[in-house]
């Protein structure tokens, strides 16, 4: 009798345990998680799991608070991959009040931040999934605003999921001070502008002042520029530096963007993969550098790559935008070159950009006027943008502000040994031409660098490496051919 009662109890508990998983899709019950072999474990825990599952349910429901009917929605959903935009809004958008890490309010509209890190394409996967369901989502669950990066901008811009900024009521005159390249990136194939950015990321060449003095007898940016003014000179300089014990760059991947931003055709034309001459020039130039022991083949951001942030790394220069030298090159660490103000900035062989974030309005947003206001305030308002430069060391997307700051002798960068690089950035950015972006850039650029690494390291011939590149791209984008 007791045994029977016990069995009934146990099996009832077990069944509740299993079924708890079916209730709602936000919680994962033990049974759904456990691989088949581990199922017995699920029997022991149902009692503990069931209440837990129930507790989480109300929390999930909170997201769908009843919204009052007004012509504008009461919830602004923002999708992004890090805290950057959030902190810009918190610090510089006038009406924003922060509640906690993932929410805030603007007036009577509550702002919900959906932050998914970029790693392993997670941000895009999440965004894609939500955007595809956008049409059927409740008004308050719709994405109102999301951020994108240049490498995959066209994937979103060239789709119906982003709204033309003109439809929000933003005119060309409003955006007149923005740099042309920031508009090129988010202009779709029909010439319609679909996003805006508050920052520009023109890149320059940061060189090690100590090394420059040692090898060339000067660390004056204008003098150094003569040694790196075009690629032939750059490569000749590499040999000089090699004799002095320095690598001209940490890795061949450092210069990749400089070449790939200056192409004359797109990666993909009519679904055919084509490799631009300037990119093949990168391959040939880099092969010479690697074979001559003048640079390495490390991946960007790897430990080996970052060694040159310190004097012992014996790296002469890095290509990068303002944020690289300000935030990523160990300037806070005692003993690094940046910490001693040991970097100098010069224009380098060709203009390029790296990074940057664009704001897009999602089609179907129920907060159009608020989105418009955020876009205008954050990307066109002179006062706010100047604040951003001063407070956050960003290079803002506003030629008036930047030109004024470039003239300002009181502004100088400690990391760059007292140099004011803004004029140089501004020059670089105005000459950029990005009309040759395609929606396949992210995959093509990544796979190209991966494949060529084999050629540089001598494990494959150039043809084999190119074959590998084509193969990898077709895996990513099955509709392409070569």
């Amino acid at each position: 009798m007791k045994k029977k009662l016990l069995s009934v109890l146990l099996s009832a508990a077990m069944l509740t345990g299993i079924l708890a998983g079916c209730g709602n899709d936000t919680t994962t019950a033990p049974a759904t998680d456990a691989p088949a072999a581990e199922t017995p474990a699920a029997e022991e825990t149902p009692a503990a799991e069931t209440p837990a599952a129930e507790e989480e349910t109300p929390a999930a429901d909170d997201a769908a608070e009843a919204a009052p009917a007004a012509d504008e929605g009461k919830v602004l959903n923002i999708y992004c991959w890090n805290e950057e935009f959030k902190s810009r809004i918190t610090d510089h958008y006038p009406d924003y009040t922060e509640i906690d890490a993932t929410s805030g309010t603007i007036g009577d509209v509550s702002v919900k931040w959906n932050i998914t890190p970029n790693a392993d394409n997670a941000y895009q996967n999440n965004l894609d999934e939500t955007l595809l369901k956008q049409a059927d989502a409740a008004a308050d669950d719709k994405i109102d605003l999301f951020l994108i990066e240049a490498d995959y901008a066209l994937k979103y811009v060239d789709s119906e999921y982003t709204m033309p900024v003109a439809d929000l009521g933003i005119t060309d005159a409003d955006l007149s001070k923005q740099y042309q390249y920031t508009k090129d990136v988010v202009t779709d194939s029909n010439g319609v502008l679909k996003g805006v950015s508050w920052q520009g990321c023109p890149g320059v060449l940061f060189y090690n002042r100590e090394a420059a003095k040692e090898v060339f007898g000067t660390d004056d940016p204008a003098e150094i520029q003569n040694y790196v003014k075009d690629w032939d000179t750059f490569n000749a300089t590499a040999a000089t530096l090699k004799d002095a014990g320095y690598n001209i760059m940490s890795s061949v991947n450092d210069s990749y963007r400089v070449y790939s931003n200056n192409v004359s055709k797109k990666w993909v034309n009519d679904n055919m993969i084509t490799i631009d001459d300037n990119i093949m020039k990168w391959v040939d130039d880099s092969k010479v550098l690697v074979d001559g022991g003048m640079t390495g083949t490390h991946d960007l951001w790897s430990d080996d790559w970052s060694k040159g942030f310190y004097p012992e790394g014996k790296v002469f220069a890095y290509f990068g935008p303002a944020w690289l030298v300000n935030f990523s090159m160990a300037a806070d660490t005692e003993g690094s070159i940046g910490n001693q103000g040991g970097w100098g900035a010069t224009e380098g062989p060709q203009g390029f950009f790296w990074g940057g974030t664009w704001i897009c309005a999602a089609t179907g947003t129920d907060n159009a006027s608020l989105v418009k206001d955020i876009m205008l305030k954050m990307t066109t308002d002179d006062t706010i943008m100047k604040e951003i430069v001063v407070a956050d060391d960003d290079f803002v997307n506003n030629s008036t502000v930047m030109d004024a700051m470039a003239q300002d002798t009181s502004y100088s960068s400690k990391i760059l040994g007292g140099q004011n690089p803004l004029g140089m950035y501004a020059n670089g950015v105005s000459s950029l031409d990005l009309s040759n972006l395609s929606s396949y850039d992210q995959g093509c650029n990544e796979e190209f660098q991966h494949a060529m690494k084999n050629y540089f390291e001598g494990t494959a011939t150039k043809e084999e490496a190119l074959d590998l590149f084509y193969k990898a791209v077709v895996e990513k984008y099955p509709e392409l051919s070569y």
Binding site: I18, T39, A42, Y161, T297, D303, E457, A465, E475
Partner: protein, 303 residues
């Protein structure tokens, strides 16, 4: 209640307690398996935000898998990696298992060592490969060490040479799994009737003879089990090479395993090609398991 039969029948409880397994198995294994096979006949992927398909294309996915020919390269890679890992692993495990289960040796601190050899398995494979990635990077500690003791003059690019890259992957896997195998084999060895060992001792058999004439033959069922599970695990090798080579399978995809190849199709959510590849993988696994089953002569079903 009293009037009912005194014998309480418990078999139905057995079925009820089997339910969780059956339900989980059907939902998460059986149904996905059939939908995978179904999906493999369709062209179905995402191009950016656009869904292409599903269009029925018959065997086109299989066709392109074979016509590219890469599948055999990856199969070979996977098997090479498995053999490189399995052979040293089984030797090591047999040796350790024999020592641990040998009552005459009276090894001290057995419990300690049994725990220690199992420990590498407790580390997440991803963390383990990150560790090795750092250790064996071009400017990593191993290279500095080798240069300092004068063994080499230039950093050796471990991850850019086929042999060393494969060796690292196989070595890591071996290190992670030999403890597990040792424990399985030891369990098998301890299940062997000790009177057999005693009898052989009386007959004057040497330790080697005992091992090869008694332990090994009687261990066969466990060995087969170990081999099949290891083979299936080996075919699904993914996390270690994926993280060690950053998903590229460098150098020149010589460390690209079948599952890493499968993962490549995830980027575009290419269910068709991924489905076809999965079905192939299923067939390869089944065939290999059958071969091992036959070759090791277990078809008498003695258990």
């Amino acid at each position: 209640m009293k009037k009912k039969s005194k014998a309480v029948r418990y078999n139905k409880w057995g079925y009820i307690f089997l339910l969780p397994f059956i339900i989980v198995y059907v939902i998460f294994q059986l149904i996905p398996m059939f939908t995978t096979i179904y999906n493999s006949f369709f062209e179905n992927y995402m191009s950016g935000l656009k869904q292409i398909g599903p269009n029925f294309v018959g065997l086109k996915n299989y066709n392109s898998l074979f016509s590219q020919g890469d599948i055999w390269v990856y199969t070979k890679n996977t098997l090479v990696l498995w053999i490189m890992c399995f052979v040293p692993q089984i030797i090591l495990s047999l040796l350790l298992g024999a020592w641990f289960s040998d009552t005459r040796l009276r090894l001290k601190g057995q419990r300690f060592f049994k725990t220690v050899i199992y420990l590498p398995n407790l580390i997440m494979a991803s963390a383990f490969s990150m560790l090795f990635f750092t250790l064996f990077s071009d400017g990593g500690p191993i290279n500095s060490l080798l240069i300092q003791i004068g063994f080499i003059s230039e950093p050796y690019k471990f991850l850019s040479n086929t042999g060393s890259a494969r060796g690292l992957i196989a070595g890591m896997n071996c290190l992670m799994w030999f403890g597990n195998t040792t424990i399985l084999l030891m369990a098998g060895m301890m299940g062997i009737d000790t009177s057999l060992f005693e009898a052989s001792e009386v007959d004057g058999a040497t330790a080697t003879q005992v091992f090869f004439k008694i332990t090994l033959p009687l261990l066969r069922p466990i060995l087969i089990y170990v081999m099949i599970t290891s083979l299936i695990g080996g075919l699904q090798l993914f996390d270690v090479p994926q993280i060690l080579t950053n998903g590229t399978g460098d150098p020149m995809r010589t460390t690209m395993t079948l599952i890493m190849f499968l993962n490549k199709h995830l980027f575009s959510k290419n269910y068709g090609m991924a489905g076809a590849l999965s079905v192939l993988l299923f067939i390869i696994t089944a065939v290999l398991s059958l071969i091992i089953f036959k070759v090791t002569g277990n078809d008498k079903r003695k258990g």
